[in-house]
Point group: C2
Chain length 363, copies 2
DNA sequence: CTGTTAGCGCATTCAT
DNA sequence: ATGAATGCGCTAACAG
């Protein structure tokens, strides 16, 4: 059994009127709610000031004299006070929480966005409330209600809000809402992202420019992936053989989908995949069948995953600035709460095709 | 620009005394907090009952007559009422929120745990508060305080609580705490996981049993990975060439680390990696150098990533039941809040070596 | 700069 | 089965 490592035991010198801290026993005390937790009232009493002065000393120290500030700080230490934000939020109407709603955490494409969102929020004193819709519209509505019940200062969605009921409810709620990873002229409130249709068209034009004839699509079944496929088909000017993959979207599915696609189109010479993981799977399957990538088959992904640049062959993909989406979403909400007006609703961050070895193939 | 898809616009028939809903205008109303949101008071008035009866109708419908229940439900619809959980929590001491603390969302090993945690909590009406420590102990303490301020009904940590101050504070707080993905005889409250030292030893014995002589380790610098390395070295009975990789832990780092390791140990014939992504990187780099895996070099990972079984060669790894950790953590907290006693503190879920092609190599 | 008063919206007591 | 009173812990508004 590994020993815990950590800083040498530092015993807090807790001296309080209702304190009963016993160093040697602390580890063994089974449910030591001791007494109840200290409130601002206790801090105020210990500091010899009124409750509101203690409150100000903590939330707006500038307006308090240095002497009382010091007294309150000492009282906070001695009582082990931790503020109750729920109570504060009730009065102040600021919960310092932001709801983040993702289809599923396992969709790695969105992780950099969620991570950046969480980091930027934390830096501003906010906390992220996370929820997963599992790509189901009913779930989305329930989840949004559950979030609204917690009075978040903002809501960040991966994707657009699907349910019309939810859209109306959100608009009426007055809560800042940022939809992301897509684009629309009519967001609930604000939208940060890009057009998936345009991504598909751009990749399609790229394929056309290469002169490939026997192209195919290997795609997830979610709405955005389908939009990209539609754009791709538009650019090609004709329908193309397609393998649609149910979630989750992993390497095994990429392999299986390429098999399916090769049955439909044995002469396949280029394939457009809806994620880099699927592209990776296609490459693995191709290699297992003696199909060389890119010499015999060009492969393009989407999302610029953290492995794509360093594989052999490296994977051509579409890059989206996921962290920027998260940072911007957080900033927009924090700024709005600071009183900034809602000046701009649409933020199209665009995308960029990154050409790598997996499409380095002559026509 | 893609059009939003979705259900045809369904306009809620909102008829309320303070309603001013204007279908055609709703999209353009800039900050339409209309009036303030309906409270339970408004629902009660609309239903012709007292506030507390409305409260009971929603939280404990069995004790209310069918007639009043129907009236209240109608009133909820007509007012568009969404409960304010913050207010309820203040009185009831149940926030229906659980804090989840992870090193970083980008560490994919933990995602199945967080996903399962979130799902199980949501099913029980709880919401996940997510925070990231970035593997920094100071950050951990601040984050825990920020979480405690929000009065969570439980705290789930990936890893053990490092700071002794934080451990004491958590113990005194009375909040159920579940530490995960590690094992200790002295958790803050409960721990679900396994011994990383034992994992290292098991993999070490596995390597010894294969008779490999020139083994190396390619590892992340975090505490748990180092524990595994220590166990590995113990099983080997001697120190081994090691490349330590700073976070983040991606494919490129795996490639680079193998280069480094090969400089230290040119005759390397087996390498133990602290994640499957690093193992993947090692395999890619080996192949680029004409080193065959597994014929010339055996490679073992950790975590059983979603790509490991389907690569060619498939990657030998250590499987941990990540989803079970998350589900169990959620259940323990929910049950404790339901009044179940704290009967058991230690849950060692063990691990399992999954032997695949990447170690299919004679001595 | 500090204190007093008055709630935020709901759920727990206790009453009926 | 329903209601009245009370207060959770904190902060906005005013006062001094």
């Amino acid at each position: 059994m590994p020993q815990r490592h950590g800083t040498p035991a530092f015993l807090l010198a807790i001296v309080q009127e209702f304190g009963e801290y016993q160093p040697g026993l602390s580890v063994r005390m089974d449910r030591n709610q001791s007494k109840k937790a200290a409130t601002l009232h206790d801090v105020a009493k210990a500091a010899g000031v009124s409750v509101i002065t203690a409150s100000r000393a903590l939330s707006n120290p500038i307006v308090v004299s240095d002497k009382t500030l010091a007294q309150v700080k000492l009282a906070v230490e001695s009582t082990g006070y931790i503020p109750n934000f729920l109570a504060g939020s009730l009065k102040s109407k600021r919960s310092l929480m932001v709801a983040g709603i993702v289809p599923a955490l396992s969709v790695q494409q969105f992780l950099p966005t969620v991570q950046a969102l969480s980091n930027t929020l934390e830096a501003a004193g906010y906390t992220l409330l996370l929820g997963q819709t599992a790509y189901r519209a009913e779930r989305e509505e329930d989840l949004l209600n559950a979030m609204i019940s917690r009075q978040p200062d903002g809501i960040v969605m991966i994707g657009l809000v699907q349910s019309e009921r939810a859209r109306e409810r959100l608009k009426r709620s007055g809560i800042p809402v940022v939809e992301t990873w897509d684009m629309t002229h009519d967001p609930v409130d604000m939208v940060i992202g890009f057009s998936h249709l345009e991504v598909g068209r751009a990749v399609g034009r790229f394929f056309v420019s290469k002169g490939w004839r026997n192209v195919g699509v290997l795609t997830g079944e979610d709405y955005r992936a389908q939009q990209r496929r539609e754009g791709f088909v538009q650019a090609l000017g004709r329908d193309v053989p397609t393998a649609v993959i149910p979630a989750p979207n992993n390497l095994a599915m990429g392999r299986r989908a390429l098999v399916e696609l090769l049955e439909k189109a044995p002469a396949l010479d280029a394939v457009c995949c809806s994620s880099d993981m699927l592209a990776h799977g296609a490459i693995v399957e191709a290699r297992a069948r003696g199909i060389r990538v890119p010499e015999d088959l060009a492969v393009c992904g989407f999302g610029n995953a953290d492995f794509s640049a360093d594989m052999a062959p490296s994977i051509t993909t579409v890059n989206v600035d996921g962290p920027e989406i998260g940072n911007l979403a957080a900033s927009l909400i924090v700024d709005r709460r600071k009183g900034a007006p809602a000046t701009r609703k649409l933020f199209d961050l665009g995308f960029r095709i990154i050409e790598r070895e997996s499409t380095n193939r002559p026509a």
